[in-house]
């Protein structure tokens, strides 16, 4: 179902003068959903990348601690 949204038109000083309705078509809504999914996927990929980065950092830290005799 198409969705009605509103454009807020103001005076440039914070006062809303009009709220103009516009219709978002099914196609646009589907596109928005797809873009949201893409953004979530990108965030997930970033998170996984960061996790890998953290693992590499921890491995290096542990190796250094072992080398320095700080760990048995």
């Amino acid at each position: 179902m198409p969705e009605t949204r509103y454009i807020s038109e103001s005076d440039g000083k914070g006062k809303i003068l009009n709220r103009v309705p516009y219709e978002v078509s099914d196609e646009e809504l589907a596109e928005e959903k797809e873009q949201d999914a893409m953004r979530k996927a990108e965030k997930l990929i970033d998170a996984i990348s960061n996790l890998n980065g953290a693992k590499v950092f921890l491995k290096k830290l542990v190796r250094r601690l072992i080398k320095n005799g700080a760990l048995p």
Partner: protein, 200 residues
């Protein structure tokens, strides 16, 4: 026989009907509807990206004929944080597709939420190039588009023709002259909106 295309009579006729030879498609614009960069195709739209706080960003606005704008606006894909705002305005073209002096500081809009927000203005423009500008104290996400055709030169990557600009600027009233040293927004255009009240 005389030259059909270069007789004095034809020259007079041409002068009287110059538009027949210089017709510019971009002079035909619908009024009363929100628009963005006119040389942009919907298929060139890509995902949104957050704009940095305290960054003055512009989108080129080629104007093919005299007109009066009655709205300037922006579509935020995501809000920039509670209580944040964005200022919108228009710069005259300076030189070499770079913004110059400030034409209009339209005021501020709420940038805290995903929405289309606009400011009521009354700004006459003559034929030429302008730059619509935005700055925020938050980090709202703007929709981006790929350039349909480039006014700018090749960016360093060699694949794009950027003609939007971004420069550091403390949030507040728009500066009277656009700062030198802005980075060319080489890959994607940040989309801002305007509405035409009349073709003059």
């Amino acid at each position: 026989m005389g030259d059909k295309y270069h007789s004095d009579d034809d020259l007079v006729n041409h002068a009287a009907d110059l538009d027949a030879h210089t017709y510019n498609l971009w002079e035909r614009l619908q009024i009363g509807k929100y628009k963005t960069y006119p040389l942009f195709t919907k298929s060139g739209e890509i995902s949104a990206v957050a704009m940095g706080a305290n960054k003055l960003i512009t989108m080129p606005l080629p104007v093919a004929r005299a007109m009066t704008l009655d709205r300037i606006g922006v579509k935020f894909q995501a809000g920039g944080g509670a209580g944040t705002h964005a200022r919108l305005g228009i710069y005259n073209d300076g030189s070499d597709i770079y913004p110059g002096t400030l034409l209009l500081d339209a005021g501020l809009v709420d940038s805290s939420a995903a929405a289309i927000v606009a400011i009521t203005i009354s700004q006459s423009l003559t034929k030429g190039l302008y730059h619509i500008a935005i700055i925020s104290d938050g980090t709202p996400a703007l929709y981006r588009a790929q350039y349909f055709i480039g006014m700018g030169g090749y960016a360093s990557a060699g694949n794009y023709w950027g003609c939007g600009w971004e420069v550091a600027q403390a949030y507040g009233a728009l500066p009277a002259t656009f700062h030198a040293g802005a980075a060319q927004d080489a890959t994607y255009l940040r989309r801002l909106l305007y509405r035409i009240a009349s073709l003059d």
